[in-house]
Symmetry: C2
Subunit: 356 residues, 2 copies
């Protein structure tokens, strides 16, 4: 078995190099892998000094700059050419690493990846996927659900949406181990004539593809229920869905805090429920699922949460190794190519609307 | 003060004529108004027999058909021309009533209203608005928030979105009594360059309009926080936002039920919290706010929740009377006309994209 090499942006995230380095070192303790860690040599050396046992698994790629969390993505190539994120992406682009991990600025990571790492041939749009926990713990093998795109694009063509379905399907197969993940199309109604011509077409094509276990249209109210494993949508819409769920979860926690402070009897109630609340929090813990993949590139890119702790980074690295070992990219390519060949079948219209 | 006349679809809603008639009669007990109640004469008479005191305020408009909740909107004119909903819309269109209320099929009501009731001149798209409760009870006069469009259209042009902002603004002024409601634009980022050319334009125009108290872009995560009074969006996106919130609220309630059943200690905790839960439920009670308006027509149309109880119908009727008395439609027209005149100002580009 070969040793996998993962490029890591050593400076990204709200918790900075401290959290990233600790996560990297934890991952190295657990498995046979090499980390190419991009960032300020001096700062990273100082952090690494805490973990002498795994030091030989980690190579520092010096990058004197780091991209601020609020930097404008479009400006990064001019302003931060020597940043840890861009250097890490370059390492991946030259084939020196199997995957890229960063907890930095999301928009910057999407752009840096798109610019540096080649896209899978015939894929014309990358997708940012998000993983979220659902309330369906009884009926599904995995309680997590993948939704894509959540913001790499604003809007895309019909064929790009089919690619998203195929890419999400391949990823869910590898990561959750579900052989035939259920795929749903986020729409404004469950009937297959909803959402306008593009959505009607996407629904029809997904329905007809043997490689997709298509559930049909789902609505916003189905997201949390976890009726499907993969949700296909466009960036603007996916962004609204994911952020609305985040906002609702925050509001619920805020209500809990308020109840705790406001009345003694409510405080007592919250205390009795604390075991259950901990359980829910554990289920909905973003650190468990290791990061949001950017799909459609020749290498896997994982975006970790800005607030990533060492555990989250550790999990992301393990996930990246698993995807490399299981040949996620090769599988994705195969699925897309098979589709593109079938797509010339008279049942489908001719491919249009590409912006190559 | 003149007597207001409200047309009511007597057969719509999951609870049927029983709930609608009781709601209508409660409203008549409280105020000086007349109800034009469309539906099956015999059924309605039987229900009305329970409320002899207010019988003289109610006129039955016989309509032998009723539109099923799952009927396809496009088929209603062919299949259900003599339905209670279409008859009620016709009464409004002839000027016999000041507003239309129905708890029936949403898509059918949007179509029936659009077909029968004239649109405000220069408004080219009606909008379905939804009212939802926010967690911001401390800083806002009203805890409810209006979001539009949530599904009357799939997507609209820039100028239609400006109209939505003006219509939502006028409605919030009347209904909540806030003089200058804060208006936000639902986007995939808070910066004003987000969301593509159309959204950048809408942001710029709303920013420049003196009649709009524009907050700027908001994200999905801001919806529940109640940072604004009116949220402007397009139908598909608004539909996702509102249904995602619904789904999250259902999931939270499901968790509560699960906790109640699963462990004695959790059951106890839930019992201690029951006062707080009741309070939250009361705040988020759709029956309080009387219905979702369809805006942009010469008369107000209120869509009541399918599960409407008599109280919800009663509140919707009171809201419709208030809007008629406060001249909501005249105010909306004035705002739209003022905008259309200013819009020829060299600061704005010329109006384009209308589909008249």
């Amino acid at each position: 078995m070969r040793t996998y090499r993962i490029a890591v942006d050593g400076m990204g995230g709200d918790n900075g190099p401290k959290a990233v380095v600790e996560g990297v070192c934890r991952a190295c303790e657990a498995g046979d892998l090499e980390i190419l860690l991009a960032g300020d040599q001096e700062i990273l050396e100082a952090e690494l000094a805490r973990f002498p046992k795994v030091r030989q698994h980690i190579e520092i790629i010096h990058a004197p700059q780091s991209i601020p969390m609020d930097a404008k993505p479009k400006e990064i190539f001019d302003k931060y050419p020597d940043s840890s994120m861009i250097k890490a992406a370059e390492i991946v682009s030259t084939g020196q690493a199997d995957a890229l991990i960063s907890a930095g600025n999301t928009g910057a990571l999407i752009l840096a990846s798109a610019q540096k790492i080649p896209r899978i041939k015939t894929v014309h749009r990358t997708a940012l996927a998000a993983v979220y926990p659902t309330s369906n713990q009884l009926n599904r093998k995995d309680i997590f659900c993948l939704i894509l795109d959540v913001g790499a694009n604003i809007t895309v063509d019909r064929d790009h949406m089919i690619h998203f379905a195929l890419m999400g399907n391949a990823y869910a197969q590898k990561v959750t181990g579900i052989e035939r993940p259920l795929v749903g199309l986020l729409n404004m109604g469950s009937e297959n004539n909803k959402g306008g011509p593009k959505y009607v077409e996407v629904n029809r094509i997904l329905e007809s593809l043997p490689q997709i276990n298509f559930y049909g249209n789902i609505e916003g109210s189905d997201l949390m229920k976890g009726v499907v494993d993969v949700v296909v949508t466009e960036g603007f819409k996916g962004n609204i869905a994911v952020k609305t769920m985040e906002g609702m979860a925050e509001a619920a926690m805020g209500l809990g805090r308020l109840a705790f402070q406001k009345k003694l009897i409510w405080k007592l109630g919250m205390m009795l429920l604390s075991g259950g609340i901990r359980k829910v929090k554990k289920i909905s813990d973003y650190q468990e699922y290791g990061g949001a993949p950017i799909l459609g590139l020749e290498k896997l890119v994982l975006k970790c949460h800005g607030r990533s702790t060492p555990r989250a980074i550790d999990n992301a690295i393990k996930l990246a190794v698993k995807c490399a070992r299981d040949d996620l990219v090769a599988n994705t390519k195969e699925a897309i190519n098979a589709f593109e060949q079938e797509f010339t079948h008279p049942d489908y219209d001719h491919i249009t609307g590409y912006d190559t």
